[in-house]
Amino acid sequence: MKKIIAQGLKYKYPLAETLALNDISFEVEAGEFIGVIGKNSAGKSTLCQAMVGLVPHFYKGAYGGKVLVDGLEVKQHSIADLSLKVGMVFQNPFTQVTGSKMTVYEEIAFGLENIGLPRDEMLKRIDEVLKLLKIEHVKDHNPFDLSGGQLQRMAIAGIIAMKPEILVLDEPTSQLDPAGSDEVFRAIHELSQQGFTVIMAEHKMEKVAQYCNRVLLLDEGKVAAFDTPEKIFSRDDLESYGVTAPVYTRVCRALGVKNAGTDCYPVTLEDAEMALRGVIK
């Protein structure tokens, strides 16, 4: 089943000269984990925001084409309505704290209160997501006392509790230390395994290669390519899009070692190890 369909999506920010998104079309199946990559200002964040309705409802601006998430046309529905289908997590964990709640537990309840969920259901869902994101032990802490990794997991919990089936993440670990970053990636991976459809804009190509089923390569607001990580990172023109392949891919490319029986270079540590062992034997 198609979870996301974008058809000829065009978008220009108010006052901007050029299109931030220029004729974007793609489709995402239920349960897929999609990585969105591209150089700075390629339009990754804008595309993420177009999935949840912030583009165009929050910014206004000129909009063309259409996006369907779980059957809802983004342009025709409010951000609040869309939030039941698709949730979004931002870069900065601090700005996602509402600042109006005293504990992590209450903080997660924020979205549920807004959508008018009955209290019993609320309690059930909060306990569920606390467990899912492994932050039960801090549920009575003040959000501002949490570590970056914990905060970001709390932000994800607050979104997941609203039971969307699609999760959009815009560089969710770019402001975290390596330990916090690992915590968050592990949590996202787990959610993906549980059946969430995940869209993640990310600069860390090793992570994209490790977790994503398919990768959407953006360049100046256009889709340059949409394919498996192996195909994308094996492209010869990758540098011209401002993207550096995962370190494993670069090593194997330098050594001329491809995945057995394919025309692609390995993209993960495991694949690289396997391919290299094959060569040594």
Binding site: Q49, V52, L54, F58, S78, I79, A80, S83, L84, G87, M88, F90, N92, F94, T95, Q96, T98, G99, S100, K101, M102, Y105, E106, A109, F110, G111, L112, E113, N114, I115, G116, L117, P118, R119, M122, L123, N142, F144, D145, A155, G158, I159, M162
Partner: protein, 255 residues
């Protein structure tokens, strides 16, 4: 975490009373002495507030505030005692200055009124969590957006102060002078405004988006995680207070 709220966490029946009843009490404490401007009534009202503050176990917390209020009021007493135009009866003489009865009388009236209002507000502020107060008001129909702004200010200002002190520390570690006379302090403070204010502005846009995707502008009626705390006698107390206000008006008109 630091908090700018004055709330004192204690167990007492005053803490248990719901915020709306406390608001009505403030109304009562302000209106009744105005409707019935006799000293006895004012004294009774101040007395009730004091008893409630004592019962709530927050008396010590009121001292600095009352101290400040009295500092202001002393000037009122002196000025009115010496210079009120209606002054006629000399009460006593301090050197070349004469204190008059009319002025002191008037100053006492003002003092009682101010103490009364401050006392009533203090009951609310010291025994009610700001978030609890706002939630009660939202339940009663206040816009959740206004409620959000009020509550978040209580949390975000201490956050801003914390980031301010982080930056100050960073600058001090680079050898910038941040302590000393006023001029040095101001010089150290100004460059902070840039990052802190600009940072907050950028944060505001991001925070607004983060709120949006969590259904902040949803048109569905809100529900609440916290069960509304209702105090068994609050309806009775509210009715009594309103009755007393109406009674005071009637007394004033008919007697």
């Amino acid at each position: 975490m630091k908090s700018i709220s004055l709330y004192v966490d204690r167990e007492s029946f005053v803490h248990d009373v719901d915020p709306i009843t406390k608001l009505i009490y403030i109304l009562f404490a302000i209106l009744v002495p105005i409707i019935l401007p006799s000293f006895t009534v004012s004294f009774i009202c101040v007395g009730i507030s004091l008893l409630l503050i004592l019962a709530a176990g927050v008396f010590r917390k009121t001292l600095p505030i009352f101290g400040f209020v009295f500092l202001v009021l002393i000037t009122v007493v002196i000025i009115q005692g010496l210079f009120r135009p209606e002054n006629e009866t000399v009460l006593f003489q301090i050197g070349p200055f004469a204190m008059y009865q009319e002025g002191l009388h008037y100053a006492l009236k003002i003092t009682l009124r101010v103490v009364n209002i401050v006392g009533a507000f203090m009951i609310l502020v010291l025994t009610t969590k700001p978030s609890h107060l706002v939630e009660s008001l939202v339940r009663k129909g206040m816009s959740p957006r206004i409620g959000y702004v009020i509550v978040s200010v209580f949390q975000i200002i201490p956050e801003m102060m914390a980031s301010m002190s982080t930056i100050t520390d960073a600058q001090r570690s680079r050898g910038m002078e941040t302590e000393g006379n006023l001029l040095v302090r101001i010089k150290a403070f100004l460059p902070l405004l840039g990052p802190v204010v600009l940072g907050s502005l950028i944060n505001t846009k991001e925070r607004a988006m983060a709120l949006e995707v969590r259904g902040f502008n949803s048109r569905t009626p809100k529900t609440y995680l916290n069960v509304e705390k209702t105090y068994a006698y609050s309806k009775g107390i509210q009715a009594l207070l309103l009755l007393l206000i109406v009674g005071a008006v009637a007394w004033r008109i008919f007697l």
